[in-house]
Structure formats: structure tokens, C-alpha cells
């Protein structure tokens, strides 16, 4: 196996749930050795749906399998003293620790940043929590939707006349994982250059507020409070989702594309100056002029024809349309990964293609699969030590 971009980096992943797992997936998929330190019963994501054939089991969660590719699994009870001291031995060899417990928990276990820094001065500890390690809401309970609500994205998602809406999936958790991964590499760069480690505090809510697309500046400038716009972009128009003969398409026409758009949908009334001057205000009229043409065509032909006209239309794809998508096929996007319980399954592949150190596919670990390797091989525990630790319920 060739070296990857992050080969040689050891990451201890204590995190539970989606955000931390996504952070360390990105590190593992690009070469870091990630050891997932799981409670003896397994990290809770192992029980998250969707499950293979809808039967739950520690090796059957699609969410877990996707989020834990290329990692190793060590079962270790870090809440007991023996477990904590074994974990500290691993920290001495590690570059990075990722954790997502409630603020204060790591410190109460004697495993806070200061404790770990004392044994490994240049360690990087990345902590992910819903509200951050400080502040009046620090100990509040969070969830994906809670972070979308407090962070501002929920208020602007949905229809104006209905309740605010969460984004599909677990986007706040995923955003936090992505931010944590970039922040961790930032800290790693700093350590490689200057030798200092540090504590990285990621608050899920701030990850959401950070992507709010000029909402703060627009409020600064005019006092305007953005609210919900359905599928419509809040400034540019047309930029929306409209139905067509066999589904939905994303329709887009910037100012410099208006004439082309009017010709494309064969609707000269779109050239009306009033519409062009304030398109967002006339969104209903614009939609009504475009709709009849869309309803006569299906989504594939609308997409292909629009692109011939250099109009940035797109198809609202469903998941069953993606595996055969010609672009994905041409770029070998989906990766078939074998796993002893599921057999071969297609997973989303590389998020980006690196010319020298490409993304590599590898399955998620079985629960405790690498316990012996890690404690025996890495830390030098003898076989009867491991048996004893097992009997004590430490591993």
C-alpha cells in the first residue's frame, strides 16, 4: 500500500455519535491510523439506523459503516482506572485525540487536555460539543436539530407560511465533523512547524452560524432579518426548484443569463424590464412563465439541453438515480467495500481526488477487532494480561 497524505499519524478516537466519527473518517480515509476507543458495549452509532435489512446489530448500521471506514476498533473502559491508564499509554504514542463527550466529562475522568498535555506535551485534542467548552449554554443538552435551531439555519429553511425546517439528514453533526477535521489539520500544521500541541474547541452551533451566507452582513447593512424562502434563493432569481414532467429540476438564471433563459424556455415575456430589474420581487410571475415549458419536458432532457445553452440547471436527483449516473460512473465515484456481515456494498467514494496520495476504500472495524493488536502489539501486553483485563471488564 502506498503512503497517503496522512500516513504516520496516530489518532485516538473517543468520540461517540456522528460528528466525531465523520471527523476521524476523513483522517482515516486519507491515511491516518485511527483507533476507535469504544465502550465494551460498542460505540452508540453502531445501533443507529438505517440497519442492514432493518435488523439492528453492532455490525449492521449503515450510518456506522459509512462513518467508520478505515478505522481500527479497541474496546476499553476508560471510566475505570486501569482503562484510563491504558489509554494514557496510548496517548504517549498518539498525535491526536478526538472526543465528543459533554464538556467537563474528560476532565472528571482525569483525561482532560491538561492531563494529556502533561504526558504528551505536543498532543492535539479536538473536542466537539453542541455549545462549546465555555459559555452559559455549555451544559445544555443538544441534538442535530437543536444546533440547527440555535445556529440560525433552521429559521431560514422552509416555507414562509409554515414552521422552520431542519435540513435533511444530520447536517449539523456532519458540519461539525467536517470543521473538526479541518481544524485538526490546522493544529497539526502548527505542531509540525513549531512543535506545539493544543486544545481545539468545536461548538456545533458555531459551525452552523459560520455558513449562514452573508446573513450577518445583510443584517449589519440594512437591519434586514432573513426568513424562509422555500426553494428560492434569497437574493438571486430565478434560482429555485420547480416541477417538470417527471420530477423536479433546479432552475437558475443570473442577470447575464436572462436573454438566454428566455430563449431557452421560449418565453419572450421574461424579457419584460420590470421582471429583470427586481426579479426576486417578481418570483411568482417568473415561475409562472417558466413552468409551462418545464411541464412539457422531462428532467434529463431539461438538464442536458440547458447545459448546451450554458445555463446552470440541475436535476433534483433521488438516491436510486445516482448509482448509474454517468458522471459518477465515469469518475468511479462509488466504491465497493467488502464487510464480513454485509458482504460487498457500494459506499460514497472519495470526496476529492488527490493525484499522488489518493483516497482508499477500507471497511469499518468489527467491535473490538483490533484490541489484541493494539494492546499486545503496540503496548506490549502479554496474552495472559489481556485475558485478565478481559475478565476484569476493562477490555
Amino acid at each position: 500500500m502506498h503512503d497517503q497524505a496522512l500516513t504516520g499519524m496516530l489518532v485516538l478516537d473517543l468520540s461517540q455519535g456522528i460528528s466525531g466519527a465523520f471527523c476521524t473518517k476523513l483522517l482515516a480515509d486519507f491515511g491516518a491510523e485511527v483507533i476507535k476507543v469504544e465502550p465494551l458495549s460498542g460505540e452508540p452509532t453502531r445501533r443507529l439506523g438505517p440497519c442492514l435489512e432493518d435488523h439492528p446489530g453492532p455490525e449492521r448500521s449503515g450510518t456506522f459503516l459509512f462513518l467508520n471506514t478505515n478505522k481500527k476498533s479497541l474496546t476499553l473502559d476508560i471510566a475505570c482506572q486501569t482503562g484510563a491508564s491504558i489509554f494514557k499509554k496510548l496517548v504517549k504514542q498518539a498525535d491526536i485525540v478526538v472526543e465528543s463527550s459533554s464538556p467537563g466529562v474528560m476532565t472528571s475522568l482525569g483525561l482532560g487536555y491538561e492531563d494529556l498535555e502533561a504526558i504528551k506535551p505536543d498532543i492535539i485534542v479536538t473536542s466537539i460539543s453542541y455549545f462549546g467548552q465555555t459559555g452559559p449554554y455549555r451544559d445544555y443538552k443538544g441534538s442535530d436539530m437543536i444546533a440547527l435551531a440555535l445556529g440560525g439555519l433552521m429559521h431560514v429553511t422552509g416555507l414562509p407560511e409554515r414552521e422552520p425546517l431542519k435540513t435533511g439528514g444530520s447536517q449539523a453533526e456532519m458540519q461539525a465533523g467536517l470543521n473538526a477535521a479541518v481544524a485538526t489539520l490546522t493544529a497539526l500544521y502548527c505542531r509540525d512547524v513549531s512543535g506545539i500541541g493544543q486544545h481545539v474547541d468545536i461548538a456545533v452551533v458555531e459551525c452552523i452560524t459560520s455558513i449562514m451566507e452573508a446573513t450577518t452582513m445583510m443584517h449589519n447593512y440594512t437591519g434586514q432579518i432573513r426568513t424562509r424562502n422555500g426553494a428560492r434563493h434569497h437574493v438571486a432569481y430565478p434560482s429555485t426548484i420547480l416541477p417538470c414532467k417527471d420530477g423536479y429540476v433546479h432552475v437558475h438564471g443570473a442577470v447575464h443569463e436572462w436573454e438566454r433563459l428566455a430563449a431557452f424556455v421560449d418565453e419572450p415575456r421574461l424579457l419584460d424590464e420590470e421582471l429583470q430589474k427586481a426579479p426576486r420581487v417578481h418570483a411568482d410571475e417568473i415561475d409562472a412563465l417558466i413552468l409551462p415549458w418545464l411541464m412539457q419536458h422531462n428532467k434529463q432532457e431539461i438538464f442536458a439541453m440547458a447545459q448546451l445553452w450554458r445555463l446552470p440547471f440541475a436535476i433534483v436527483c433521488r438516491v436510486d438515480e445516482l448509482l448509474d449516473d454517468p458522471q459518477f460512473s465515469s469518475r468511479d465515484f462509488f466504491a465497493e467495500i467488502h464487510h464480513p456481515v454485509t458482504g460487498p456494498i457500494f459506499y460514497p467514494g472519495a470526496p476529492f481526488k488527490m493525484s499522488e496520495t489518493p483516497w482508499q476504500a477500507g471497511r469499518a472495524p468489527l467491535l473490538g477487532e483490533h484490541t489484541t493488536e493494539t494492546l499486545g502489539g503496540r503496548l506490549g501486553y502479554a496474552e495472559d494480561d489481556l485475558v485478565r483485563l478481559g475478565e476484569l471488564g476493562v477490555v
Binding site: D3, A5, L6, P50, F66, Y113, Q133, G135, Y140, K141, S143, I146, A149, L150, G151, M154, H155, T157, G158, E163, L165, K166, G168, G169, Q171, Q175, L178, A183, L185, T186, C190, D192, H199, V200, D201, T209, A214, T216, M217, H219, Y221, I225, R226, A231, H233, P243, H252, R280, P312, A314, I315, R318, V319, Q327, S330, P348, A350, P351, M354, T357
Partner: protein, 416 residues
């Protein structure tokens, strides 16, 4: 100790609009020296005027220099340097190549064919700077039948399940309230760049990163892909419902457009919720005993919760429930976020003075690094603000040489 984590990293930034500038903003706030290269003819800035009421300029007034006053530009390009350069001009390319020679990375998000047309593709630049890291981030990637297709972040949302899975259970596909594909792709690009730099620092080898916004965005919906590839299930839009939690929704509160989000994950939280609503009897109701039973009676449950939340302000509901140990949050709008004590306490927003617009709070840095905290360490650059600094001090061009470039129109001080 360095003051900022990425000190010493220099990035030549050709990106425009949202996804690319978002990537380089993350790196710039952390201390990378990001030099944004703009064209006088087609610069990444508003020319004004725009339709009133869009909030694009202070008081909706473009002013004499609209290109220095845009909401998007200023939010996304703070902490960076800005120069102008005509890359279609032979001398402009020469200057660009000089900059590449002393940079660690180039980032661009043009359509796939543009850099090649400029004669500035990776193969050419690598001849100038052998260990160069370059990140291209077009919508669909640098190969394949859609290679030259045009799209913005909003289009990639449609192509990558985001639109299909966002919406009310009984309604059409919607979009998140922002162009979600852009910052998401931007973060992946920043990750790719730092990973490639780490490899270069270790091995001396540069590389090229081909990042498709669509392929990076679909990662965020990996569980839905797995449900299909494992089980053949095509997930549908579910509004605010959660696959197992109930109640899990957004409920109306007292006042206009006032809402609270509540997410109850287990029986303990449910019982605490009933006590907090002062309805202990509900905790005994058979319909709502156990998560799966609550989930099946979700509509009844939502109605009961709604009857209670309507009588209170969302901030009040959040505090009552959080005190009781139930996850809840007011659905905040931007004005409320700016004033929110938690955001204030953490110092999330940073006040920045900018000579063309004044002082305003900018959304800050989402990651707190304990020893090298990032920050908005310089205001968004004015158009061409750093021509003399970058061309003079970094590239060593004399005043006469810079004046000659101005006369030839290779650099300029105002958009054309």
C-alpha cells in the same frame, strides 16, 4: 510560538463567488497569507446597483465604490490580501508565475476548462514550482461527461440528495436557507489543501487535487446512500421528524414567527418534559410510554406540545426545558443570534473596521485553538489594495516595473 496556526503558508487564490472564497477564508483566519487575484474586467465583486431590499450594500446604497462594499465579498474575503492581474495577458501570466514560485498552494474554482485556456493548468505551474499543491474545485470535477457543465452550489444541492431530502413530509423538495453546497465544498477543499501540504512537508512532493462540489456534498448524505445500497430503500422527505425520537419537532411559540425546536430522545427526558409542562399525567398516558409508542402517536404528541409552547416565548421554553434536562432550543434569527448571551460570552462575532463601510460585527471563527486562536486579523481588502505590497515587497518588482504594468493594463486600481 507562532501567533497564528498557519503562519508561513502562502496561497495564491483565484477563487470566486462562495465555495472557493469560503475555503480560503478558513485558512486566512488561521494565519495563511492568502493573496486573492482578481481581474479588473470580471472581478469577484458587485458592480451595483442591485435591486433594493437585498441588503447587499450598507443602507442599500452602492456608493461610488460598490466593489468595496458588497455583503458577500466582505464577509467571505476578510483576512486576505487582494491584487489585480490580467491572466489573459502574457505579462500578467508572467507575474502570476512569479507569485506561484513563492507560494505553497494555488486554489481555483473556475469551470473545468478555464485554467487550461489561460495556459495555467497544473502541469504548466508544476514546471515553475515542482512541489506546488493545487486545488481545483469545479461543480462536477475535472473529468467525465459533465466536466464542462456549469453550476453553482445551489445546483449541486439538487444533484447530491440535499434538495431531495430537505422538505416537509407532504411537500416538494426545498433547499436549506443557504447555498449549502458552497461552504461544504469549501471546507472539503481546505481539508484537501492541508492534507496535501502535510504530505509535501514530509516528502517534498506536491500534488493536484480535483474536487467536485457534488462529490464532496454527497458525503453529507452518506447514510441515505447506504440505506439504498444496503436495503434498496429510497429515503423521502420527513420534515422535522426523526427516525426514532419523539417528540422531535419545531413548535409555535407566543409572538410573531416565534418557534422552538424540541428533541426528546428517551423516557427519562419525556418524563422530565411532562413535569416541566406541569402535566405529570401525560407521563402515564399509554400512548406515550416508550419511544416507539410516542413515535407512532407523533401527531397527537405534536398537538399536545404545541398547546403548551404557544403560551410561552421561545427563549422561555428553551430555558424551562433545558433546566429540566430536555434538549430544546429557540429557533433564532440573525438579530437574536447577534444578541444571544451564549454567542456573546464566547466572543463569536468580531467587530471589524473597514474603511469603505464602517465597523460591523462579522461572523467569527468556528474553531477555538487554545494557543493559536484564529481571528479576523485584517479587514476585507479594498479592490487592488495590495498591488504594491504583493508585487513590490513579495515579488520584488520596482516602482517603474509596477507603473509599466499599470500602463499596459496588466494591473489596475479600479474595476473596468
Amino acid at each position: 510560538m507562532p501567533r497564528l496556526a498557519l503562519e508561513g503558508l502562502r496561497i495564491a487564490d483565484l477563487t470566486q463567488v462562495f465555495a472557493g472564497p469560503y475555503a480560503t477564508k478558513l485558512l486566512a483566519d488561521m494565519g495563511a497569507e492568502v493573496i486573492k487575484i482578481e481581474s479588473c474586467v470580471r472581478c469577484d465583486r458587485p458592480h451595483g446597483p442591485v435591486a433594493p431590499g437585498t441588503g447587499m450594500f450598507p443602507d442599500d446604497k452602492p456608493g461610488d465604490e460598490p466593489y468595496n462594499r458588497g455583503a458577500y465579498y466582505n464577509e467571505l474575503n476578510r483576512s486576505k490580501y487582494a491584487i489585480t492581474l490580467d491572466l489573459t495577458h502574457a505579462t500578467g501570466k508572467e507575474v502570476f508565475n512569479k507569485l506561484v514560485k513563492v507560494s505553497d498552494a494555488v486554489v481555483e474554482n473556475y469551470s473545468a476548462r478555464v485554467m487550461k485556456n489561460f495556459g495555467l493548468d497544473y502541469g504548466t505551474l508544476r514546471a515553475i514550482k515542482p512541489d506546488l499543491v493545487m486545488v481545483s474545485m469545479p461543480g462536477y470535477g475535472m473529468s467525465g461527461p459533465y466536466r464542462d457543465y456549469v453550476t453553482y452550489g445551489t445546483g449541486t444541492e439538487a444533484m447530491a440528495l440535499c434538495s431531495d431530502l430537505t422538505g416537509y413530509a407532504d411537500g416538494a423538495p426545498l433547499k436549506p436557507g443557504i447555498a449549502y453546497g458552497d461552504p461544504t465544498g469549501g471546507m472539503f477543499a481546505a481539508f484537501a489543501l492541508l492534507a496535501a501540504i502535510r504530505y509535501r512537508n514530509k516528502t517534498g512532493r506536491g500534488q493536484y487535487v480535483d474536487l467536485s462540489l457534488r462529490e464532496s456534498l454527497i458525503q453529507m448524505f452518506g447514510d441515505a446512500v447506504m440505506d439504498y445500497t444496503m436495503n434498496g430503500r429510497v429515503q423521502r422527505r420527513e420534515g422535522n421528524r426523526h427516525p426514532s425520537m419523539a417528540p422531535h419537532g419545531c413548535y409555535r411559540c407566543k409572538g410573531e414567527d416565534n418557534w422552538v425546536a424540541i428533541a426528546v430522545s428517551d423516557d427519562q427526558e419525556w418524563q422530565a418534559f411532562c413535569r416541566a409542562m406541569d402535566k405529570p399525567g401525560l407521563a402515564q398516558d399509554n400512548r406515550f410510554t416508550g419511544a416507539s409508542s410516542r413515535w407512532r402517536h407523533g401527531d397527537d404528541l405534536d398537538q399536545l406540545v404545541d398547546e403548551w409552547t404557544r403560551r410561552h416565548d421561545n427563549d422561555e421554553v428553551m430555558h424551562i426545558l433545558q433546566e429540566a434536562g430536555v434538549p430544546a432550543a429557540a429557533v433564532l434569527n440573525i438579530r437574536q443570534i447577534l444578541a444571544n448571551p451564549h454567542f456573546v460570552s464566547r466572543g463569536y462575532f468580531e467587530n471589524v473596521f473597514h474603511s469603505a463601510t464602517g465597523t460591523y460585527p462579522y461572523p467569527g471563527v468556528a474553531w477555538k485553538l487554545s494557543k493559536t486562536a484564529g481571528s479576523i486579523h485584517r479587514p476585507p481588502p479594498l479592490f487592488a489594495e495590495h498591488n504594491d505590497f504583493v508585487l513590490g515587497e513579495i515579488l520584488g518588482l520596482s516602482r517603474e516595473e509596477r507603473d509599466a504594468l499599470r500602463r499596459e493594463g496588466v494591473i489596475g486600481d479600479e474595476p473596468l
